[in-house]
């Protein structure tokens, strides 16, 4: 009897255990720490996606090297500095193919830009789909978010079409794996871009610039899209839209210019003293990619490290926060020393760092604070300096001491360009320097990156006027007011100290690095007087171009170097030169040269590393091999011939 009791209790005991563990939803998987895609069906979700797309589209390019590889390498303005990790993008040599052989982790692959832009388009498609489907009556959803979606898509396709020509056109979010894609024509892509940017123009609000997308941002890029579509690279098909496009540009530009007056001084734009400081909120700025010192913000600005040339390995010098990490990727070509009126145009002296403060004094002669490095950007024929490099020879008149390192653009006896090209030294474009970083080698920068400012809007309008004149509407002189407006701002004002210099190196006070200011290499002074060899003056200068027949000497030099003769070509050269003077380094040069089909001529003439290699097929980028290898046609991977057919010619 006892046995039965035991048996029963044991059975009950085991049965309880068995049943106790049978939970119906044992395998249910819940996302507890993240949200799922269905979040995008809510208003809050759509807005959060729009914010995420700001990050993806505007910000992510600037934590990578591909952005300068694709936009400012291989042009007249810049070449490879001391570090060749990405030289293939500048040199157009035999290695520039659909696969770029990667030899260090910094080398940009051909698909980096492509992937980045399409991921942004995917996000934009999701915004458009969800905001369109939303039953919300809120303007924030139906107008702002939707407008942002259209803007980001149009903006990204504009980047794609200007780099690759026709690309696959995807306008709805992908939910299942699709491997069958073909390239749309450039015409189809432009139709989409202009439709998207028009929608954005209609939907976006007027205020919020430069952090947020506005109607003006849409107008600026819509004007740019019209201009691109009307450019030479599209001449085989754009005749039907050209006149209307060009006619539409100027009113859009005028509207933008009206609400985004130029900053009074060109230096204001680059006088960065702290994250989110005054120079990042100027009325001139239409749109910028936002970075801030709060390290919780996702994404880092790395562009501060790519432009700086080596200074830290020179005598009496060391690396410091204000001098930045000199990755030496981008060297200004001699074109940049030629394109300015170096006496009257302040922009060269406000865009380039030409003096470094001595910051590692050893011995009794030098002290920190002396002039440590000077770049003398003189003109051919100057006989003052015997060599491109003079150590402890050139005397600083202020201290009477010799300067440990002096580099001379045109040493005695040279009338041709290139004396500095044998070394890894050059005056560095300082528009992105960041002295507010947390540590001397910290790659994380806090400065915003300007994506559109009204000085460019003026030049877009000017170029439209020139193109209209070519079509017979108006005259070439119609462009001059727009160009002169930009040039007027670039003059020296009466009483202005022409030696005064600002760049982001001056933001050390905002840095948490704890670096002592005594080892600053940043010097609030440029080599204006040493270079120009003129007496000190505070008189005002003028850069006004009064007539299309009296172009500035520097432009005439470039026009003659390029062998241009027609008035249109000369005027186009003028506007391209003006873009260099105003916008050097601001991530748009390659597209300007490619679309105007001036790439080959200008690179051959001014980029000593790529000269001779560049060919007309380089006006389009290679379609990434990863894309060609990954897609299929009718369920089959492409044959080598089919891939070649989808590839741009020449690659």
């Amino acid at each position: 009897m006892n046995k039965y009791k035991l048996y029963i209790s044991a059975a009950l005991f085991s049965g309880c255990l068995f049943l106790g563990s049978c939970k119906k939803d044992f395998l249910k998987e819940d996302l507890e720490t993240d949200r799922g895609m269905n979040y995008y069906q809510t208003d809050a979700g759509i807005q959060s996606l729009a914010t995420g797309t700001y990050y993806q589209v505007l910000k992510t390019p600037f934590s990578a090297e591909w952005i300068y590889c694709n936009t400012i390498y291989g042009v007249d303005e810049f070449g490879v500095g001391g570090d060749g990790s990405n030289e293939v993008w500048n040199d157009y040599d035999g290695g520039f193919k659909s696969i770029v052989s990667s030899v260090n982790s910094n080398t940009s692959s051909t698909n980096d830009q492509w992937d980045n832009l399409y991921i942004g388009i995917g996000d934009a498609n999701l915004i458009i789909q969800n905001a369109t489907a939303s039953t919300s009556t809120s303007d924030d959803i139906k107008k702002v978010a939707l407008g942002e979606g259209y803007f980001f898509r149009g903006y990204s396709y504009l980047r794609l079409v200007s780099q690759y020509g026709g690309v696959p056109l995807v306008t709805t979010p992908s939910t299942t794996v699709n491997l069958e894609y073909t390239r749309a024509t450039p015409e189809e892509i432009y139709t989409q871009i202009i439709s998207d940017l028009k929608q954005a123009y209609d939907l976006l609000p007027s205020s919020g610039a430069p952090a947020k997308l506005t109607k003006d941002a849409a107008a600026h890029f819509l004007a740019k899209a019209y201009l691109y579509r009307a450019s030479e690279i599209n001449d085989s098909w754009n005749s039907a839209t050209k006149a209307a496009d060009l006619a539409a540009i100027v009113p859009l530009c005028d509207e933008v210019i009206a609400s985004h007056p130029l900053a009074p001084d060109f230096a204001d734009l680059w006088d960065y003293t702290a994250p989110d400081g005054a120079n990042e909120k100027l009325s001139e700025i239409i749109l910028s990619a936002q970075f801030t010192s709060d390290v919780s913000a996702t994404g880092e600005n790395h562009q501060h490290i790519y432009f700086g040339g080596r200074y830290d390995d020179l005598p009496q010098m060391q690396r410091d926060v204000t001098g930045d990490r000199p990755y030496s990727r981008l060297r200004p070509n001699y074109y940049m020393y030629r394109v300015y009126d170096l006496v009257n145009d302040s922009r060269f002296w406000k865009s380039f760092r030409t003096k470094y403060r001595l910051n590692k004094a050893s011995g009794n002669y030098y002290a920190n604070g002396d002039l440590g490095v000077i770049y003398i950007v003189n003109q051919p024929g100057d006989t003052r300096f015997s060599s491109y490099r003079l150590n402890d020879v050139v005397v600083d008149p202020e201290t009477g001491k010799t300067i440990p390192s002096a580099y001379i653009a045109y040493p005695k006896g040279t009338t041709t360009d290139g004396a500095l090209n044998v070394d890894v030294r050059y005056p560095s474009v300082s528009k992105f320097f960041d002295g507010s970083r947390n540590a001397v080698n910290d790659t994380r920068g806090f400065r915003d990156i300007i994506l559109a400012r009204s000085a460019e809007t003026y030049l877009i309008a000017a170029e439209a006027k020139i193109r209209l004149a070519k079509l017979g509407t108006g005259s070439y002189a119609d462009a001059l007011p727009y160009i002169n407006a930009v040039r007027a701002r670039a003059t020296y004002k009466s009483g202005e100290n022409r030696e005064t210099y600002y760049d982001g190196g001056g933001a050390l006070a905002a840095s948490t690095s704890g670096q002592s200011p005594t080892i600053n290499s940043f010097m609030a002074e440029n080599s204006y007087y040493e270079s120009n060899n003129i007496d000190k003056t505070t008189a005002a200068t003028s850069l006004d171009i009064s007539s299309t027949s009296a172009l500035p000497a520097s432009d005439n030099y470039i026009i003659s170097k390029l062998g241009l003769s027609s008035e249109y070509d000369k005027m186009l050269a003028l506007v391209l030169d003006e873009r260099s003077r105003e916008l050097a380094g601001e991530f748009m040069r390659w597209e300007d040269l490619s679309r105007t089909e001036t790439l080959v001529g200008r690179v051959d003439a001014f980029n000593f590393q790529a000269s001779g290699n560049v060919q007309s097929y380089h006006e389009l980028r290679p379609i990434p091999q990863t894309y060609l290898d990954g897609i299929q046609s009718a369920g089959k991977a492409l044959t080598a011939d089919e891939k070649q057919a989808q590839q741009n010619p020449g690659y």
Binding site: S14, M37, N104, I119, S174, N178
Partner: protein
């Protein structure tokens, strides 16, 4: 002479055959080729197996007394052997000298001799007398117990492909973890080594099947799957046995987790009637060996000069025509005057003399003699009712690179109590605490260089540079290149300490219903509960002067807590009807797994002694916080299983099983799947027609099974959004973007179907034994993270796509080549061959170049340009044709093959598959020699027939350089291209010179042991005492890549010597 040898060869079997009635007297001449290779001796013990039966007068009351002595095969007496009259309870045990005396009431019959660990023997007698018997050890025979998953079987009854290693083999050499103990010992198991203390090796069983899902096997410890991984925390001396389930008919019992094989670890338990104290101690002294020779200062200086020359021949002088001015410029004299002072010594005489330049031994700076101390103490004992085992282990493994160390304290308690006749309960609790000093951290704030270890970091230093200047100051950038920071003092500047506390339990309760109610005989219910808790802490501190630092102190603290449990309900039922034996196992199983993570990282640590322990708001400002996070992952598995074992007459065995698994991380509607298996075995040696005396065991097995793989991350089907902050000016706004991995709502199980045919054999009195398995498998619905065209807005997705196939052979063979009284030689060989290939991919039969997957090709291949050596000046006519078509070749450049012959090179037409990256052959061989009390064992290990991508030589001449035969105008017959000074691309096709055959065979270790004689031990009251010495990594037998140890896939390896003792009291 031949005849004589033959007679000698056959003698033992003649004689043995005469002894046992179960063995036929017929002699089958062994004709196997292997026989002729063997030197067969016979032990004198064999001769003693003669029963010297004397005929005595039978007493009138018909009672006789059988007497005799029982010995082992070496003639040593065996005490405690059970001797009884067959089919009765009449019996005795042998005494300490192995003698027995058994009175019997019958005058003829059969005596049965049984003893644990020995093969039972039946001997017939007809009259009173003396019957001396020798018993054969059953180690490595079919009688051992094999763990098959949710139960055990005798090896003779096993139907699947199961291999294993015993405690004896584990104890045969000192190892840090269970995987090291298995390496090269089990056919079909490929284990790659690592020498960082505390880092576990990689393991695959029978090659790979999955493309991106895990290929790691399932580890089961005492019946509980290690859900959280971490076999390295188990003290190997606590392991009683390791069984590896290889084929699908065996692993299907673990269903979804069985696809990559199952490693079942059984820990030690107390034994009835024996109490023991065991002590194992060893000390290892190791030094790092480097197979890669770096250029010395003079060689490197020449190399750099040539590189500049080939960069711009019109600017720089030829490498063999140096000038001091040029050297000053290219060696950055102004940036590092100390390094330049060293180079200047070469110019002291006015002309260059490279031998005057000193070479700094940067590598020697970061190495140390590694000393490993290992101590294990265990006690065990048991009665009929209670068995217990407990142990303590201590391992202190100091690395051969400065800063690397691993300490592990482990404890194990195992108790088993039979409370009543029908209820037993027990548990095993293992706890370990380990501290791994990882050495130079691989994380860090902002690496200027990202080498994996301090040694590789030191390798990047330029040979002509010096660590300290004339004043004794540390030079931060020796050589003046900001990409090369000094490694001097690095061992004090970067710390990465990983502490793991692990507790793993396996508890059970079992009710034997048969003991309550006779009608329920052999019905048992068992519940297993296995909790597993792992707490992991990783503390990193990187000083501002460290190589890994961007110039400001950095610390991070990461914690991971994993908790999981497995709950199994099992019902067992056995029934024997005549010659039919039936066994039924039913299972319901639930597993839950949770991971909680948290981390904190910050810059600007106030003072170094804080390390990662003061990341508090009073020291770290919010802007210095570089990261903080916490996370939670949960997953569950629910399973039901039924298994039927049937055997007929001990000859024919059948195993059928079916398991249904559901996994939470798969998509709704696709969570569950069935995993069936079937296996047959036939013990041919039991058949009456199989009466060859030289066949001891012969079993044929056939099995088929389906296993699964759901080894993808939890939430992969959910499309979790990525959250971020975007600043509108300084206002951070929360935003999201979709994951770049497209959510797949149809994600289901990956399934592998495998067929296996195997044979187990033991021949010639077990002098030859082993098994041979041939398998073939096909994996379908591959779980892959596949790249998708980014045009879709996504970069990849998880999908069930495609299929792979895999086939192979596992062969293991143990031969007792020589077996004399004082000398024996045993060879154990494990050989496996495997070949996998891809059957189909995402869209049918289309290659996927982006993922390096090609239909019909092995899963791992190298795809690229095929090298044809170097362009020579004499090839100008040819290369100028290519140069006209877009290339820019010059003499000394790498020449690649123009596959399609169009006189141009492009990625679409000229890349081909160079070779497979997974070895076809894996070989392990252990030769053991014993002479009296000495035992010498030599272990060889090899991986053969595969390609390895060494990466080629960039020859950009910025960093340090391995000593190579490179092209210059004065050395045109070179292995590698001409150097071209570059920070970037260098020679476009240099990678093509890097594909090499990776085959090697290595002597892993040689160990020599000495067992103290029983006589001496008796005086010391010690049961067993073995002293041994082992040499690790004495050398390679051959390797095709002479600057890498392909066993470790590293240029460096540790060579060391271990002294140890194992004592039992």
């Amino acid at each position: 002479m031949k005849t004589k040898i033959y007679e000698k060869l056959m003698a033992p079997w003649h004689k043995a055959g005469a002894v046992c009635q179960t063995r036929s007297r017929k002699v089958v001449a062994p004709s196997m080729a292997i026989m002729s290779l063997m030197i067969i001796g016979y032990s004198s013990a064999s001769a003693r197996t003669h029963p010297e039966t004397k005929t005595n007068k039978t007493a009138w009351w018909q009672q006789i007394v059988m007497t005799g002595k029982v010995t082992d095969s070496s003639g040593a007496p065996l005490s405690g052997v059970s001797v009884y009259l067959k089919d009765t309870k009449t019996g005795v045990l042998t005494d300490a000298s192995g003698h027995y005396s058994l009175p019997l009431k019958v005058s003829k019959g059969v005596l049965v001799f049984t003893f644990v660990g020995y093969e039972s023997k039946e001997v017939s007698f007809e009259h009173q007398g003396e019957l001396n018997v020798s018993l054969t050890s059953t180690s490595n025979t079919l009688n051992e117990i094999v763990v098959v998953g949710y139960g055990t079987q005798k090896r003779q009854d096993v139907t699947g492909a199961i291999a294993g290693i015993s405690q004896k083999e584990i104890a045969s050499r000192p190892v840090a973890d269970a995987l090291q103990a298995m390496q090269g010992k089990v056919a079909g198991v490929d284990i790659t080594s690592t020498e960082r203390p505390g880092t576990v090796d990689g393991i695959t069983i029978r090659g790979v099947r999955s493309l991106t899902a895990s290929n790691s096997p399932l580890f089961v410890v005492d019946g509980i799957p290690l859900t959280t991984g971490g076999i390295e925390y188990l003290n190997p001396t606590d392991i009683a046995s390791i069984d590896v389930l290889k084929d699908a008919s065996a692993t299907a019992i673990y269903g979804s987790r069985g696809a990559n094989g199952v490693v079942i670890v059984t820990t030690k338990q107390g034994k009835t009637g024996r109490t023991a104290l065991d002590l194992n101690m060893s000390t290892t002294v190791e030094n790092l060996q480097d197979k890669m020779t770096m250029m010395d200062a003079a060689q490197y200086i020449d190399f750099k000069r040539w590189s500049y020359y080939y960069k711009s021949p019109d600017v720089y002088p030829r490498g063999d025509q140096p000038t001091i001015e040029n050297d000053k410029a290219i060696f950055l004299a102004s940036s590092d005057p100390s390094a330049w002072a060293n180079i200047e010594k070469g110019w002291a005489s006015g002309s260059w003399d490279g031998s005057k330049v000193a070479t700094t031994d940067w590598l020697g700076m970061v190495t140390q003699t590694g000393i490993t101390k290992n101590l294990n103490l265990s006690v065990s004992g048991g009665t009929d009712k209670i068995k217990a085992y407990t142990s303590f282990g201590y391992l202190d493994n100091q690395g051969t690179q400065r800063g690397q160390e691993y300490k592990r304290y482990s404890a194990n308690v195992n108790v088993d109590i039979k409370a009543t006749k029908w209820f037993s309960m027990g548990g095993n609790l293992q706890a370990s605490y380990s501290v791994q000093e990882y050495g130079q951290s691989s994380t860090g704030s902002n690496p200027l260089s990202s080498q994996g270890s301090i040694y590789e970091q030191a390798r990047t230093e330029l040979p002509y540079t010096v660590p300290y200047d004339a004043d004794g100051n540390r030079i931060e950038y020796p050589g003046g290149d900001v990409a090369i920071k000094t490694v001097a003092g690095e061992w004090n500047l970067s710390q990465d300490q990983r502490v793991t506390l692990r507790a793993f339990g396996s508890f059970y309760a079992q009710i034997d219903f048969g003991e309550m109610l006779p009608v329920l005989k052999n019905l048992k219910y068992r519940v297993n509960f296995g909790p597993d808790i792992s707490s992991y802490r990783d503390g990193v501190y990187i000083d501002s002067a460290s190589v890994r630092s961007s110039g400001v102190n950095y610390a991070s603290l990461g914690k991971t807590q994993k908790t999981s449990y497995t709950l199994d309900h099992l019902i067992y039922y056995n029934k024997s009807i005549g010659k039919h034996d039936l066994g039924l196992t039913l299972l319901g199983s639930w597993t839950q797994y949770n991971t909680e993570t948290s981390s904190l990282a910050a810059y600007g640590i106030a003072f170094p002694s804080q390390k990662w322990n003061a990341l508090t708001s009073s020291y770290i400002s919010s802007t210095d916080l570089s990261g903080y996070s916490s996370g939670l992952t949960k997953s569950q598995l629910q399973s039901y299983m039924a298994r039927l074992n049937y055997s007929y007459n001990d000859r024919y065995m059948l195993t059928l099983s079916a398991r249904r698994d559901g996994a939470s991380q798969l998509a709704e509607g696709h969570k569950y799947s069935w995993f069936p298996s079937a296996a047959l075995a036939w013990r041919i040696d039991k058949e009456s027609f199989m009466n060859a005396s030289w066949v001891n065991d012969l079993k044929l097995r056939f099995g088929v099974g389906v296993t699964g793989n759901s080894a993808i991350d939890a939430y992969a089907t959910q499309g979790a959004l990525t959250s971020l902050f975007y600043p509108y000016e300084s206002t951070l706004t929360s935003g999201t973007t979709p994951s770049t991995i497209m959510a797949n709502q149809d994600l289901g199980w990956e399934k592998t179907t495998q067929y296996n045919i195997g044979v187990d054999f033991a021949l010639f009195n077990r002098r030859i034994s082993g098994s041979l398995d041939v398998y073939k498998s096909k994996t379908t619905d591959l779980l892959m993270e596949m790249d998708v065209p980014t045009v879709s807005g996504f970069t990849s997705t998880y999908a069930n796509v495609g299929a792979t196939a895999n086939k192979g052979i596992d062969f293991s063979l143990t031969t007792q080549n020589i077996s004399l009284k004082d000398f024996s030689w045993t060879t154990t060989t494990n050989l496996s061959w495997q070949n996998d290939h891809i059957v189909s991919l995402a869209n049918g039969n289309q290659d996927d170049i982006n993922n390096n997957w090609f239909i019909g090709q092995p899963i791992g291949v190298i795809y690229g340009y095929k090298s044809a050596g170097l362009w020579q000046a004499s090839d100008e006519a040819l290369y100028s044709i290519y140069n006209a078509n877009g290339s820019s070749f010059s003499p000394g450049n790498v020449r690649v093959v123009d596959i399609n012959g169009d006189s141009a090179f492009d990625a679409n037409n000229d890349r081909i598959i160079i070779g497979n990256t997974r070895p076809r052959w894996i070989v392990g061989m252990t030769n053991t020699f014993t002479y009296k009390s000495f035992e010498l064992s030599v272990f060889l290990y090899g991986r053969l027939k595969y390609m390895y991508d060494t990466g080629g030589e960039n020859e950009g001449a910025r960093g340090s350089q391995r000593l190579i035969n490179y092209y210059t105008e004065v050395n045109t017959n070179a292995d590698y291209q001409k150097p071209i000074r570059s920070d970037g691309s260098g020679d476009m096709y240099y990678g093509a010179l890097g594909y090499k055959d990776g085959s090697f065979i290595k002597i892993r270790n040689i160990s020599l042991g000495y067992n103290l004689s029983p006589q001496v031990l008796k005086k010391l009251s010690i049961t067993n005492l073995k002293a041994y010495v082992q040499i690790t990594n004495p050398g390679m037998l051959f390797s095709n890549i002479n600057w890498l140890d392909m066993d470790l896939i590293s240029p460096t390896y540790n060579r060391g010597i271990t002294f140890g003792i194992n004592a039992s009291f």
